[in-house]
């Protein structure tokens, strides 16, 4: 039993040895995703997809509660249409997959597979929006998109990925800005309360803006290896796309004017964020709110356990299901309890309930936490309440631990030599004064690989001299090496 367990766990590379290998091992061993016959495209396996379904439910509920509705737009964008917004083309054209043939015929015009849908949606909004009475339009789409990537990694960067993309149109600039920030707030609250992943919400620099946007905001998380992950973006598109695609409406003042639009999205990349925020050398650690199974019940298989222990285990399962807990009873008889313990730990199930003949005698069960590995006896008749409160505790503890981790890895310096030395490793965030000029930003990136993740709201007022050039600082920027 011990041998089997050890053999199993050692198949995951320790984080300290090679974080990147650890990540790929976890993705594969926990059956979250698999490689396919197409380079850069992954299959999301049922366990990984169940996490995505929970993410979708939580976000979809928040979008709908704030007045958004879902729709579906075509996968294809004619080449001429994609070319219409200049910055947008420049940003996306190098990454586009092109359809040139349909059936046995060559197409007259190539079709891009959507890398994002501003263009195709813009042409439809131009038809649908005529009057200020038609505004705001608040539409979200859950879909696949394709970006031809050279280097890929499951969930973090793949040629095809799943995401949601919101596209809204407004009467005024102020409303569009309000929407952009409302969504950023939703993303932050969702990331922290559901994924237990603390994020910094703030504005991107000009050079990191979405192609075609007026302003881009992001949420940025810190992964277990000290690299940052952009976990969601929200763009105020100004009137740029409205001008390119003719989204015009007659205003309250009877004057024809261009709408103000926004777009925003998060993707299956969030699953990568969860893995790298909470995981450890035993594998995945899932926050209860996105755990497909929040509890696994493992009956201790001694003697005639199928007659004695199993019925009691089923009873507890039924009671937990009735209490709204996602629970799995592992009644497989071809594996030992020890093997099952390691297997479910690797899959990150937040709580394990063990029940054996002695426990039944004492009217108790054992509950083991995945995050702290603490074990406790709990009385059988209080199992629903205790399990539910333990799940809440785990959820909170994971957020607290990740927040502490980020705080310990967020430092400040105004000294470029120190900054550069720190960036040799993967130090987490470094907050430094920046002059606001793209040339400094680019030089810092090329010399240290560090990029400005964002300039968080409510951060310090800019003061002092730019880290790099010594000109007066216009912002305290959060730098990091990023995924």
């Amino acid at each position: 039993m011990t041998d089997k367990k050890d053999a199993f766990v050692t198949e995951i590379t320790p984080q300290s040895q090679d974080f990147s290998s650890w990540y790929l091992d976890v993705v594969r061993k926990a059956e979250l995703a698999d490689y396919t016959a197409v380079k850069g495209c992954m299959a999301i396996r049922p366990y990984g997809f169940a996490i995505w379904e929970l993410i979708q439910q939580e976000l979809d509920r928040r979008f709908k509660a704030t007045g958004h509705v879902n729709a579906y737009f075509p996968l294809f964008i004619p080449e001429s249409l994609l070319m219409r917004e200049a910055e947008h083309v420049e940003g996306f054209a190098p990454q586009v997959a092109w359809v040139t043939h349909g059936g046995n015929e060559k197409l007259e015009e190539r079709l891009a597979i959507r890398p994002t849908s501003e263009v195709i949606i813009g042409t439809l909004y131009a038809k649908w929006i005529q009057s200020w009475r038609d505004l705001p339009v608040l539409i979200n789409q859950w879909s696949n998109v394709v970006r031809w990537e050279k280097v890929t990694r499951p969930f973090l960067r793949t040629t095809e990925f799943l995401w949601q993309e919101g596209h809204t149109a407004h009467e005024t600039e102020a409303e569009a800005q309000e929407e952009t920030l409302r969504i950023l707030d939703i993303y932050k609250e969702f990331a922290e309360s559901v994924l237990a992943m603390p994020v910094m919400a703030g504005a991107k620099s000009e050079s990191e803006k979405f192609a075609g946007a007026s302003r881009t905001y992001s949420i940025e998380a810190l992964m277990g290896d000290g690299r940052a992950l952009q976990a969601g973006t929200s763009h105020n598109l100004g009137q740029n796309f409205a001008r390119a695609f003719g989204i015009q409406f007659q205003g309250r003042d009877k004057v024809l004017q261009h709408a103000w639009t926004t777009s925003w999205g998060v993707s299956t990349r969030l699953i990568g964020g969860v893995i790298m925020t909470h995981g450890d050398d035993s594998g995945l650690v899932l926050p209860p709110r996105v755990a497909p199974q929040q509890v696994v019940i493992v009956p201790i298989s001694r003697g005639n356990w199928q007659e004695t222990v199993l019925p009691k285990a089923r009873d507890i399962q039924a009671r937990l299901v009735a209490a709204g807990v996602r629970v799995r009873l592992d009644d497989r008889d071809s594996y030992t309890p020890g093997w099952k313990f390691a297997d479910w730990e690797m899959r990150g199930v937040p709580l394990r309930v063990e029940i054996g003949p002695k426990d039944i005698e004492k009217q108790q069960v054992v509950v083991a936490r995945r995050d702290t590995r603490e074990k406790a006896f709990i009385p059988m008749d209080a199992v629903e309440d205790r399990v539910r409160s333990l799940l809440d505790e785990v959820q909170q503890a994971l957020l607290a631990r990740a927040t502490k981790f980020r705080e310990e890895r967020t430092r400040r310096t105004a000294d470029y030599a120190e900054f550069s030395a720190w960036m040799e490793g993967r130090p987490g965030f470094v907050i430094s004064p920046w002059c606001g000029h793209a040339d400094c930003e680019a030089a810092i990136k090329s010399e240290t690989q560090a990029t400005i993740r964002n300039m968080p709201f409510g951060g310090d007022e800019p003061s002092g001299a730019c880290l790099k050039c010594g000109r007066p600082a216009t912002a305290q920027a959060w730098f990091a090496k990023a995924y």
Copy 2:
């Protein structure tokens, strides 16, 4: 007011004048879908997509209750892989959209955009399935697929469409057959109880089988114009795909053997089915279980209605929401009640609640049914109960009406002259004896445009001579002109 209403409704072509124009008018006016810049691709607008979301929820619940889980597989299939199952290629290759370039580079091998996913999933099942212990695999995918169609029609036949595709693998032939029929049962029960659309469930003829299947089953509905609609299919794939893609497992007897697989799907075509099963000359008629709004409340805007009527309308809205009813309060002040009545009728909302100053005096509201146009007064304090029971009544009545319609349009003949004469129009189903030979089936199709929809379970035993050739009949086949 009357003028506006009439003007509005007359924009929909009457069914009797041109059913096809009626259909397109309803799709457009009810804002279910819209054409896009790409030929044959539609945008599903929020109102249409909300119907799809309800369909998804209902089906997803049924799939999960029978042990299925969701996953996601790549959009792309390398050409060489698609070519591996001979019949499958022959069936789908003429309809495939091909990606030839990624970014600025020509691909070494063309990539097909999935027309269906047996191939890509088959290669992964070959990796995932090793032992009988890994079976059954019961996976479903919600996704987009692309088939290059020459003639398209929103929801019914589009180049890109949304669907679910189930793909399962089993230890024995019997289990695969059981799964194939279990899903067909789910489809039938769902179509009838949720969409209020009666369907015949049965086996397809050899020539109408899915490309690569051993046996194909379908559910077939009858549309308002007397044409049949294939509303869902379930395929027993035998060991065909397992052989082509190497899905092998070590059996309980330690012998390496091929798995038995199935696949099955329904698509956004179901929305077209709902439109054409229930709609009338005023527009859409939605069964309550797939109506995005089951009730619309229209306050009668007389005098200072915003101070008197509106608060009461809001109160009723809140009570209906609390009772689990999907309800919309139409408080727009730029439209008259009469205009709103016609607008919501056109959008097929099952129940309209009217409330005016007199109703408030009498502590009542008016409820109007979309399906029968009956109006009734109901006491204000019983509004939740009465609305819920009326919604049930409407749901049942729509199914009963559609079932009666189908029965009236299902006839029998063994005489080919009579059969041919009937098929000049759009007569509904004609049940006729058939010899089971593909040449007869093909001749009937080319001479009358009628195809064998399926051979329903529990139908009559075959008897007599084939309609076409006079050889002994092997089945009583259901013929129709079909979408």
